[in-house]
């Protein structure tokens, strides 16, 4: 056997590790994206509907409080948030290491990130169209379902795309504190052990993932946009 191993050999040798890391990354992404879409999406909708001039604009206090909260959480550099809420993470996940534990701070960051993204996307729906629905006797829930989610849908798809790409990279940060996943692999082998080839493999893997997410997101957004 030659002393220097080729990139291919490294790949072969580390394949189980890489697969496991990819699985962990996908698990973290699945958890934090779901939390963001359900909770963050609802929060974003409420912030939009309670903004001045919209149909629930009379709930000004809620709007101010929710806006403030979103800004506060989004002010935390992710790695600080990760450490700062670790007691809370232990309560929720029972541990503060591993992909499940890392999913807790990831979810919290993603919820508030997505809430802001959604609120901004919904601003593109013309006020006149929402007003037309109000004139038809639509309730706030019907306005969400029949107008906002319909007219903003391509923007919403793009918002999910941006969210997924951002949190793929955030999930790599979680590797620093033993979160697992592709980022963890890059740090353990590529950084601590100076195995540049492993670093390269993980970066290629992340680039492929980001490109795929972006391509799929844009294709789908175009597909649902009839404007």
């Amino acid at each position: 056997m030659p002393e220097t191993t080729s990139l291919f050999d490294t790949l072969n040798e580390l394949l189980p590790e890489i697969l496991k890391a990819t699985g962990e990354t996908l698990l973290m992404m699945a958890i934090c994206l779901s939390a963001a879409i359900v909770v963050g999406g609802a929060l974003g909708l409420l912030v939009f509907l309670t903004s001045p001039g919209q149909s629930l604009g009379r709930f000004r206090a809620f709007n101010l409080a929710a806006n403030g909260l979103i800004n506060v959480v989004r002010s935390f550099p992710f790695i600080i948030l990760l450490v700062a809420i670790s007691p809370f993470t232990r309560v929720i996940a029972g541990t503060s290491i591993g992909p499940l534990a890392a999913s807790v701070p990831l979810s919290i960051a993603a919820i508030f990130y997505f809430a802001r993204l959604i609120e901004q996307t919904l601003r593109d729906v013309p006020r006149g169209v929402i007003e037309a629905a109000e004139a038809m006797g639509a309730s706030p829930l019907q306005i969400i379902r029949h107008v906002l989610l319909v007219e903003a849908r391509s923007g919403l798809v793009l918002a999910v795309t941006v969210l997924a790409v951002s949190f793929l990279s955030y999930s790599a940060v979680a590797g620093v504190v033993g979160g697992g996943g592709i980022g963890d692999l890059a740090i353990r082998y590529g950084y601590y052990r100076f195995q540049t080839d492993v670093m390269l493999i993980t970066i290629v893997l992340l680039v492929v993932l980001v490109q795929s997410i972006q391509f799929l997101g844009q294709w789908f957004a175009r597909h649902v946009d009839k404007r």
Partner: protein
Amino acid sequence: MPQTSSTAAAPPAIELRGVSRRFADPGGRSVGVHPTSLIVPQGEIHGIIGFSGAGKSTLLRIVNLLERPDAGEVVVHGETLTRLSAAGLRQARHRIGMIFQHFNLLHNLTVADNVALPMRIAGESPARIAERVRVCLDFVGLAEKADVYPGRLSGGQKQRVAIARALAPEPHVLLADEPTSALDPRTTLDLLGVLADANRKFGVTILLVSHEMEVIRRLCHRVSVMEGGRIVEQLDIAGGRIPEGSRLAGWLQDFGAVGPAASPSPSTPPQDGAPSHFALEAAHA
């Protein structure tokens, strides 16, 4: 005029009792509507005309409480809207159609789905929705565009879809906020024909705001002239004749539009190359 004489027993379609609504415009001046009353009998096409900032649109939007008056009462078809709960108001709005200057169609819904929208919101059955969508698209002459998205339609076609959408739930009242102001003159004539037809065929009462004299003159049975947030004049103009000596007649002369003396007699069809579909004068006869 049958529209007013046949409704002696019926409640008016729209009754505004001393409604007012004041707010500051972007320049900080107080604008809106001073305490104003208006009665529109069932079946009438009533115009509101005036210059920008006269309060026309505000008054119109008070009728379905898109603009809630600071004081006064709004009664539509015998129901006092200003006393209803939020849910009651939504229920009442199901029977008040509205069309807008910029159409306000949903661009991600097909024409048929746009027309179906108010009925879906009102919780009608799919069978009834399908039936009404067919009838209303037929009525505005766009049956073959049912599966097209509004982005592919002309302005006039978009406003026809908006009219079909407003008529789908069989409203008592149709509110029209500058419905032709974004359209060219020929398309405008065409659309006025559709509105006159809707009034004649379905008996829907129409309250229309416009700053275009011709639109008011051709379509409306009566007109309220607004200035500075008040109705300053109310005229019977059925047949397109504007009474001499009225403020409106003065405006027409001042602004170089068709002078009242030169306006055609009620039975004269329009002479400006309007499409044959145009049947306004017949609607008035």
